[in-house]
């Protein structure tokens, strides 16, 4: 999937993945897509919850060798 921006948040713990994701998505326009990489397993529930609260949409997610990837479309 093509992303407009990629954010490497690997190695960071709560609440940093969410905080960095927010900062990154602020730089995008509505409809654009952010690709997030994180190793925080809490992000599995945190990122979808955050997206719902903040009005964005997780359109895809995957896991690869302990790295969780999310594609988030800015609302």
């Amino acid at each position: 999937m093509n992303a407009d921006k990629v954010l490497d948040a690997r190695g960071l713990s709560c609440p940093m993945p969410v905080v960095r994701t927010k900062k990154a998505i602020d730089e995008l326009k509505p409809g654009q897509i952010l690709e997030l990489h994180t190793t925080d397993s809490g992000a599995l529930s945190d990122i979808p919850a955050w997206a719902k609260t903040a009005g964005h949409r997780v359109i895809e997610q995957s896991e690869d060798n302990g790295v969780y990837k999310f594609w988030i479309q800015k609302g």
Partner: protein
């Protein structure tokens, strides 16, 4: 429409600081308007010097290794982040008087107010938390 999160911080240990600032920054990251009212020992969390070396509960010193291993951000980092995300920090005037603290004793950008100031903010808050 922006949601409001109102937090009271009334304890001054390291773990208390994490509870307060993690929730506050996460809420701010979700575009909520956040205010924290610091009262009694909670004032430590925004004190210029104290917030850099908050006490760890006795018998829990071994947690510090876990903090390092999990790469948890420091309290000064979290506090700075909260301020960058416009979290409103309100120091309790009455406690400041009792402890002979001045506005200058706190990190820059702190507001000073009383119970009514916090209640005014919290009146229509969607989430209210006490730590």
């Amino acid at each position: 429409m922006s949601r409001k999160v109102a937090i009271i911080a009334s304890n001054g240990g390291l773990f208390d600081a994490y509870k307060v600032f993690n929730i506050a920054t996460a809420a701010a990251a979700a575009d909520a308007e956040v205010a924290i009212f610091f009262t009694f020992e909670g004032l430590n969390l925004i004190h210029k010097d104290a917030h850099q070396q908050l006490p760890v509960p006795t018998g829990r010193e071994h947690y510090m290794e876990g903090f390092k291993k999990a790469n948890v951000p420091s309290i000064p980092e979290l506090l700075q982040m909260a301020q960058e995300m416009n979290v409103k920090l309100i120091a309790c005037q009455m406690t400041m008087d009792v402890m002979s603290l001045k506005k200058e004793d706190f990190v820059d950008g702190v507001d000073v107010g009383g119970a009514a100031t916090f209640l005014h903010f919290a009146q229509d808050a969607d989430v209210t938390l006490t730590f």
